[in-house]
Amino acid sequence: MEALLDIHRLSVEFNTARGRVHALRDVSISVPKGKVVGIVGESGSGKSTLVWAVMRLLAGNSIVADGKITFRGEDVLSFDESALREFRGESVSMVFQDPMTSQIPVLDYRRQMTDILYRRKGLSRQEKIRMAARFMNRVGIPDADDRLRHFPHQFSGGMRQRAGIAMALLMDPALLIADEPTTALDVTMEAQIIHLIREAQTDFGATVMVISHNLGLIAELCDKVVVMYAGEVVEQGDVKDIFFNAHHPYTQALLECDPSHDLKQERHFPTIPGDVPDLHGTPKGCVFAQRCRHASDICQYKRPGEYPIAGGHASDAHAARCHRYDPGGVWKELPKSETPKASTRIDVHVERDAPPLLEIKDLRVRFPVMGRVRALASGISDPHVDAVAGVSLAIRTGETLGLVGESGSGKTTLARAVLGLNRVHSGSIRFRKEELVGLPENTYKKMRRDIAMMFQDPVGSLSPRQTVGQLLSEPLIIHGERDLPLRDAAEKLCDMVSLPRNFLSRYPHELSGGQARRVGVARALALSPALVIADEPTAGLDVSVQGEVLNLMIELQALHGLSYLIISHNLPVIRQVSDILAIMYLGRIVEYGACSQVFEKPAHPYSEALVRGTPRPDPSRRRKLVSIEGEVPSLTNRPGGCEFHPRCPYATDRCRKEQPSPTRLVDGRTVLCHFPLAG
């Protein structure tokens, strides 16, 4: 097979204040023409550096120490400025992770897209605009002529990414590079974008390189997969070989860690202990040796080569960088120290008959959409949106409730309302039978000991100029426990979340995502609360770290009898930790019931779309069709009838006219649908 792009033994180093960082070492990848190649790795694996190296866009302090990049037989590294411009403009296009920052906010799409076509001198302006409209239509943006006059902020996230793909395809590139194309998007949008990239690849015959940490996405999209770790390629091969016959211990561990991998509800997540090694200086031996459960002596001092693995699929050679596959090696398989798989499911005692710890009834949170004067002037009385529109739910002691929904579904607003951070319009929130709505702050403060919150952004939710020690002792100071030896208390909290004690003097920006998350957990638990509200506890964390945090949360739940309200859009994670699931759409709960039941037989079409929409790391079950189209409507413009009907594949006339009321199914679930799919 002809290789469009061939990277041969590439090494890239960065000069930093603390010495030289070996960001890429000896990376060889060939991208065959007309194929989709996926590059998987956690943060710090060097996958972005690789892309920048190919585009020749590396930062000024970088050195390409060794290696060759060949594109259609030409040496990319020797291109001069004009050849480089042609290479970037004509041959390679990129789809970026965050279209909001990669598109120009002050130019409309017509201008941005005609600008991209500047090299097409023969085309008239009218032709360029027509071409832009055609591509916008092609990526599924209706009324393209009209839409071209819009600016990026007028598009929703999904539309923006579609426009980004249209822009990337405009020059008919030979190679399309997509850097985390769906990370900023919701599950249903993600499925649509994956589909779009696949379509584009077959229609335009483009070669695609996808960079992602999302194994499900890679499995659905790619033909060939490259697994990177700490700046090295540890394994590469056909997608089926990687997912069904992984050989490198890192690949195996990574696949195991992916929560969507396992369909059982085990309440224990596999993890990869340890951290990504420091890339200062040249590491001896195998980069993964410190974290590898198979590592033997040779791994510590001798760097393994890339050894081919026999019996691979198709044309792509399957190879892994591990001593175990060295044909001339004298590897002795160690007596396999089984993964300490604590498969003993930790059970939390839940008193089914006890009154609920937290009970929310018909809660409404309203936000005004315009000032009072403007509303009077335009003759609208009480202009508002209902971010939360009549939500009821209950959590018992020791129970975990998972609240799932896409962005804009009102789940974070709901959580903040419970904590009194948002004004409640109507309804009641009872905690231990005590009404929280309308409580003045000084009475509420006592309640805050028992209700703690973990915020979404692990680092951003820690005050940046405070040390970890100060942050950990702060809850105690606020709640008047000044007499306690604060240092001891902080140390105890550190131990509880297994954070080294010397971290107490660090500042938040010196922590990794997982460490910052541990501080967040410790802070939430400092006052031994009864209820913890966790907003996207695994957002922004690598797969191998996600498991650690969730395991910690589960252990602490068992230990302290905590109740959790976990908010997430990540269904695989939530499925494994929740007892009860509440699925939110446009501020309403559309399905509410036992977690396992919702997953096995979703009753609401939206739940079904979410459950089926999550890409699984299984290349054999590629979806032909996207289950639901369209996007979450704006709250200011709620559809009439059933609010889900514009996106519902089963919608009937009744759904368009009549708003459904909550229906109780035989198995105890509540569904907001005229025609529940199950039960």
């Binding site: 550096t49 904590l419 951070l421 915020f455 100029r465 809850p475 606020i478 010196e510 802070r523």
Partner: protein, 289 residues
């Protein structure tokens, strides 16, 4: 890449080292330190009492007794310049510190507090800002008579709005961040949130503004004293030295030169220091220069 985030570095020593590495910052730092030392040590460095008359020596140039000459009353110019520095330091230190503290507090309150309070404070700031400092000072002095304290109060009142505006904008940006939400959810009081969590994050740019404000304040005092509206004789200040020297400039230029040079050097020192601080605190500029 999270490489930068992992390394352990303490902020303060690094900032000082960066400041001294920067040539501008180095010069500014040295000048500012010299200004502080000369003002503080004036009683030890001075050769004469600044008010003591030595009639035979009046309007002489530099000599063994009077290093920088003497003025029209025979007072030692060198000693008067040193003592004049004390007035400048007093105005600069008290004026700038108080405006910084009051401006910061009001700005944070405006940014974090309810909408009506924000609007009321903004109205107040804009009203004050619409008066030109010098004209306001002239009006106040002609009503209440010249005094150093009056000048100080006017300087403080008129420079509060710029500090407050800056603090308010940064506070508004911080108000809805997750870490402030996290503090609120813990039950932290407004006072705690403002002074422990908001202040450290907004004070950086204000300190730079303060360093750049010092020369302005010093010149306002000198200017008003020059016009005879500031400190009263026989107190020495750079402004009064210039004022009195200006009358006798044809006979002896020494008082004007001696009063002018420290004014120029101090102004330059603080300006350079302020600019260097701005570059250091703003990481986006750090790489460029």
């Amino acid at each position: 890449m999270t490489m930068d985030a992992v390394g352990t570095f303490r902020q303060r020593p690094e900032k000082l080292a960066l400041l001294l590495k920067n040539k501008q910052g180095m010069i500014g730092f040295v000048l500012v330190v010299a200004f502080f030392l000369s003002a503080l040590l004036a009683p030890f460095l001075a050769t004469h009492d600044p008010a003591q008359l030595d009639i035979p020596a009046r309007l002489t140039g530099p000599g063994a007794d009077h290093w920088l000459g003497a003025d029209q009353l025979g007072r030692d110019t060198y000693s008067r310049v040193l003592y004049g520095g004390r007035v400048a330091l007093k105005v600069a230190a008290i004026g700038v510190t108080l405006s910084l503290v009051i401006g910061l507090t009001l700005g944070m309150v405006a940014g974090y507090g309810p909408r009506w309070l924000d609007n009321a404070l903004l109205l107040l700031f804009d009203t004050i800002r619409s008066f030109p400092t010098i004209v306001l000072a002239l009006a106040a002095v002609s009503l209440l008579g010249p005094s150093l304290n009056l000048i100080l109060s006017i300087v403080i009142i008129t420079s509060i709005p710029s500090y407050a505006r800056l603090a308010r904008t940064s506070t508004l940006a911080l108000k809805n961040t997750e870490f402030i939400m996290a503090e609120r959810s813990l039950g932290a009081g407004t006072f705690r949130i403002l002074f422990r969590h908001v202040m450290p994050n907004v004070i950086g740019p204000l300190l730079i503004l303060a360093a750049m404000d010092v020369p302005v304040v010093v010149t306002i005092e000198a200017g008003l004293s020059f016009l005879g509206l500031g400190v009263l004789p026989p107190t020495a200040s750079w402004g009064t030295i210039l004022n009195e020297g200006y009358l006798v400039i044809r006979t002896s230029p020494w008082p004007v030169v001696a009063g002018g040079i420290p004014l120029v050097l101090t102004t330059l020192g603080f300006t350079l220091l302020g600019e260097a601080l701005r570059d250091i605190f703003d990481p986006k500029l750090r790489g460029i220069r």
